[in-house]
Every structure is written in structure tokens, then in C-alpha cells.
């Protein structure tokens, strides 16, 4: 009787270990993405004429709204983990606190990760007109005649020039670009469109622990949009760049270097 009992007990124990080893392999945690904005490596102060570009234009930021999407976490030797919640698209408005934190429901494999990459804007397949009928995303609509879908970013600025003290508005807006057959951007002369969204990849070492939430900071360094590697001069594009592919292309080249990833503490869900 005792040997049978021991045998039964042993079977139970062994099967529990197997289960627990299967559980560990599939263990997941979560991530929380926290969005913030800096200029000169300090927190961005909206509506403050404080910042200076390489072309010696002083500027202030009135509005900043943008989309990020297709967040992917990489770890050496492991399968990339792509965030799929919300169709993988997140809207940020620097003035709306609720958009500055994104807690996707995705379970992220517990592991040590070494880089993060994401799309700034929305990729071709997903950047479809009328997919967001409700505000605030709805107000990012990009005109159909100019390519459709949504603005990747609206940064509304005001600036002064070194030779002209007057303050001028500037709409630093990014989205699908147009190719024109004429020198002036006449929409009837559009010959093609350019998908200006781009991938941002940033090395960042962090661990996702099973059952825990790992905070990842996504910091936009606003000044980098104007100062590197391309020098962006507001006066080259009077008023804005929605219909100037050269301006948007330059902005996007800079935008790839405008983000820093920081890693916070592990928290409980």
C-alpha cells in the first residue's frame, strides 16, 4: 500500500515539474511605452520661444501630434516580438496626458532585449483614409488629393529669423509626399506619391520579466528634426512642407535620429 502511494505521489510530482517547465518557457510580461519630448536634452517647454536651430532661427512649439506604429523588440538569437494591440498604431499628443502612456495588452516573452524599433508614422498597408472616424485621430487626416491616409506628424511652430525679427507660423507636417511635374505644386500635376514613413531603431538593453511590466521611455528630441544630419531651414519652405517632398524628405532623414529609448523599472501589472 505504501509503495503504491509513493508511486502515485512520484507521478504527480513529476508531471507538475513538466508543467512548470512548460510554463517558464512560455512566460510573458508586459511593456508600457512612455512618450516624452525634449529639446536640448531638456523637457520641451511648449509655447516658449527658447530654442535655436543651426540656421539661427529661434522657435517655439505650439502643437505636437504624431503616430508611431509597428513597435518591435529584439533580443539576440530570439524571435522579434511585435506589438499588435490597437492594430499596432498609437497616437501621441504632447498636450494630452492620456496619450503619453501606452500599455499594450500583448504578452511579451520574458527575455533580455537589446534594441527597439518602430515606424514613425503609419506604413502603406495601414495608412488608409477614414480608418479613424473619431477624434482625435480623425483630425490627423491627410488630404486624399495629396496621398490620403493620415499625417504622420503635425508640429505647429512659430519662429523668428536672424534677419527678420517678426514671428512667423510654420506647419512642420509629415505625411505621404507628392511628385509634381510642374515647378509649382499644382495638385493636377501630381505624377506620383512617396511613402515618407520610416523605421527608427535604437539600441536599448532591458529585461522583460514574467508577470511584470517593463517601462520603456520613447523620448523625441524635437531639436533633432532641424539639426542633423540635414540642416533644415524654415525659410526654404515658406509656411510648411506638406506639398514639398524635398522638405519632408529632409525632415525624415533627421527624424530617424530624433529618438532615444530609456528603460525604467519593473512594475506590477
Amino acid at each position: 500500500m505504501r509503495y503504491i502511494g509513493a508511486f502515485i505521489l512520484a507521478v504527480i510530482l513529476l508531471s507538475g515539474c513538466s508543467k512548470s517547465s512548460e510554463t517558464n518557457y512560455a512566460a510573458t510580461g508586459k511593456v508600457q511605452l512612455l512618450f516624452s519630448h525634449q529639446a536640448g536634452q531638456q523637457p520641451l517647454l511648449p509655447d516658449t520661444l527658447l530654442y535655436l536651430t543651426a540656421t539661427r532661427h529661434q522657435y517655439k512649439v505650439a502643437d505636437l501630434q504624431y503616430f508611431v506604429s509597428d513597435f518591435t523588440l529584439y533580443h539576440n538569437g530570439g524571435k522579434p516580438v511585435r506589438i499588435l494591440s490597437g492594430q499596432g498604431i498609437h497616437y501621441v499628443d504632447m498636450r494630452v496626458a492620456g496619450t503619453l502612456a501606452w500599455s499594450p495588452a500583448d504578452g511579451i516573452a520574458a527575455a533580455t532585449y537589446d534594441s527597439v524599433s518602430f515606424t514613425f508614422g503609419i506604413n502603406t498597408a495601414n495608412n488608409i483614409s477614414n480608418r479613424f472616424p473619431n477624434p482625435p485621430e480623425r483630425d490627423m487626416a491627410w488630404p486624399g488629393i495629396l496621398g490620403g491616409g493620415y499625417h504622420y506628424m503635425k508640429m505647429n511652430l512659430e519662429y523668428t529669423g536672424p534677419l527678420d525679427p517678426g514671428i512667423k507660423p510654420f506647419m512642420f507636417h509629415l505625411g505621404i509626399g507628392q511628385l509634381y511635374s510642374t515647378a509649382t505644386p499644382n495638385p493636377d500635376s501630381i505624377t506620383g506619391y512617396v511613402q515618407n514613413y520610416f523605421r527608427v531603431t535604437v539600441p536599448a538593453r532591458f529585461a522583460v520579466v514574467a508577470g511584470k511590466v517593463c517601462s520603456i521611455g520613447c523620448v523625441m528630441q524635437v531639436d533633432r528634426w532641424f539639426d542633423g544630419p540635414e540642416t533644415f531651414d524654415f525659410d526654404d519652405y515658406p509656411g510648411g512642407i506638406m506639398q514639398n517632398q524635398d522638405g519632408m524628405h529632409k525632415a525624415c532623414l533627421n527624424g530617424q535620429h530624433a529618438f532615444v529609448i530609456t528603460v525604467g523599472k519593473q512594475g506590477n501589472p
Binding site: D47, A62, D63, S129, N130, P133, N134, P135, R138, D139, A141, W142, P143, G144, I145, L146, Y150, N156, L157, E158, G166, I167, K168, P169, F170, M171, H173, T184, P185, P187, D188, P238, G239, G240, M242, Q243
Partner: protein, 398 residues
Amino acid sequence: MNQALRVKRIPRQGSLAGLLLFLFLPALLLFSLSCKKNHPVTAAYQPTPYKIVIPRFFPEVLNVPSDNPMTVEGVALGRYLFYDGRMSGRTGPDSLMSCSTCHLQTHAFECGMGESRFYDGHPYGLTGIFTPHFMMPMINLVWTDKGYLWNGKVSAGNANPAMKNLEDVTWMAIVAPHEMAGDTARVAALFQTLPGYPGLFKKAFGTDHVTVKNMGRAIAQFVRTLISADSKFDRYLKGSYQLNNSERSGYVLFMTEQGGDCFHCHGGDGNPLFTTNLFYNNGKDSVFTDPADRFSITGIAGDIGAYKAPTLRNLVFRPPYMHDGRFSTLDEVLNFYNSQLVWSPSISPLMHHVGTHGVHLTPLQVSDLKSFLLALTDSSFVANPGFSRPAVFPDGTK
């Protein structure tokens, strides 16, 4: 012997139970009968849900508060109240005033120009005091999410719990010296006496006790049904109408940064409300003296001289234009944006043509842009009998 003892104990316990039952049963019976007498079972209050049909491409999220769901009965009552001049709390013919006194369907629920009462489009109340601002239309308000009125004063963000949503505009209109200059208690008491109305309140809200709060709820429900979505442009988006050359050229100008760039504030093909419902200083002045602009609500310096961007639907019915009615015609509005913009420190960054005082379209382009704006006209809205004055009111008056 034990058995005998057990037999002797049971009768004493049984006697005690029986005694208790004898004493308390009548009380229990009386209690249950009295309960039935004071709370008779009545038919449950079951209003009929009113389903708003969302037009194609319109937002799916509606501003309908959970404590005032849309019902057929509520909308019907609201329509009566909207048009009943006794909302002023008075019955003398010279003292009647309702929402419809100023909000005329033929003018997309503004007062318009050329009407005998408000010939220049500036409404005034029963005491002759003019309203601080000219009117905003009642078009598609069920999608307004950033506050009502030119400065967004009535909004979820207002600390005053009586100024949160459309439901609160009714009591404000009743008491405002520049509107009905009335008394809410008097209004409620008056309608309590009008045959037919208490019954309608009961159907709509489950009680025949008339309150201004429920008046506000009913009127808000009615106003939320005022949906305009059948213009030429709406039919174009649905594929059942082709814009003519002028309308199409105007549409392109409307939607492009190098054209008129109207869409950033006034929506467009991605936003058929034709307003973002946000607030902008659009370059009308360099000095601002209005104590009721957006700055008066937010205290943010960038909101000085800012007002809500109204919808551009049904403009042809709605002169004059702007918060102060300074433009009597659409041509004046277009000329303003073309060459009369004025810079101020709080001008919206979206007015990026302010450096040259405007967008400087050619006369032909201005004409095309106007053609497009007129393609946002929905004639069915101003003629819809469901929005019109009832032929007969609940008490039989006409």
C-alpha cells in the same frame, strides 16, 4: 425512563414555538398587507430608444450622456418645447420666447439676416439686450465633443456642474438677461399646468412632475437629432454625385496647404463634420477686447482672440459670419482669408499665410472655392418636417 423524559421535553418546546407563531403571525400578515397598499405595482417606465443613424464617414462616437439616452418620447417632447414660446415662463403674446425665436430652421437654426425681428443677424432677448456673440448653427451637435458656444464654455471640463453639456444650455437661456430673462421655477410651474405636457414628461422621463432639468434633457435630445449629411459633397463621397469643374477645383484648394488650406481647421474628406470643433485665433484682429473669447475659459495666452471653428455646412443659410457677425456675405469671408489676415501674438500657427496677410488666390480660384463651399449645402436640412415647428402643441394651441 429516558424515553419518557424526551417525550415530556418536546411538548414544552412545541408550546413555545406555537406561542411565538401565535404572537407574531398577525403582525407579519399586517405588515405584508400594508406593503401592498402603499406601493402598488405599476407598469414599468419603458421609453422607446431612438436610434441615431450615423451617416457614412461620420464619427462613430456620439456625445450622448449616459443619464440622458435618446428616446422617441424625449425627442418628441423636446421638439414641442423647442418651439413653445411659453418657455419664457410667460403667456402674454409680447412675452413669448422659445429656442426657435432665434434658432430658425430656415437659417440652419441661426437667426440669419433679413428676418423682420433680427434684420442684421444679431439676436437680442426679451429685454432688448443683445447677445454677447452672434449665433452658431445647430448642425450635427451630437458630435460636438470640445464644448458648446463660441468659447466652449459649456463643456465637460467646466467646473460648474450645471454647465457641462447640451442639457444645461436650456436653463442658461431661460435665465440669461440677453435671452429669455426668465425664472426657471416659473417656467416649470407654467408647463405643469398646460394640459398634455405632464403626460409627455411622464412618457419621456417616468414622472409627470415638470422640471427645467427634464426640459433641458428633452430639448437636448431633439437638438441631437438635427443632423445634416445630404449635401452634394456628401453624395460625392458616396459616389452618387460628380462635382463639377468649379466645385472640384474649389475642393482641391480647400484641401491643400498651398491653396486655401481650409481643412486644417474645418475638416474635409477625412472629417465630414467640416469642423474640428477646436478653437483658433484666425487673424481677424491684432487687439482683443471680448471678455468671452476662448482665453476667458482656459486662461491660456495662446487662446486670446480664439473662437471655435464652426462647421462650414449650409453656409448659404447662415449669414452673417464670425463670432461678431462682421462679414455679411461669403464673398467678404473669402476676401478676408485672401488678403486681410492680421497678425497677433496669439494667432494660430495654422494661419501660416499671415505673413502675406492671406492666401492670395486668384479671382477664379476664389470663385471655385466658393463653389465648393456651396456644395456643402444640404437643402433637406432646412426643410425637414421632423425638425420643424409642430402644427399643434400638446394643449391644443397652435
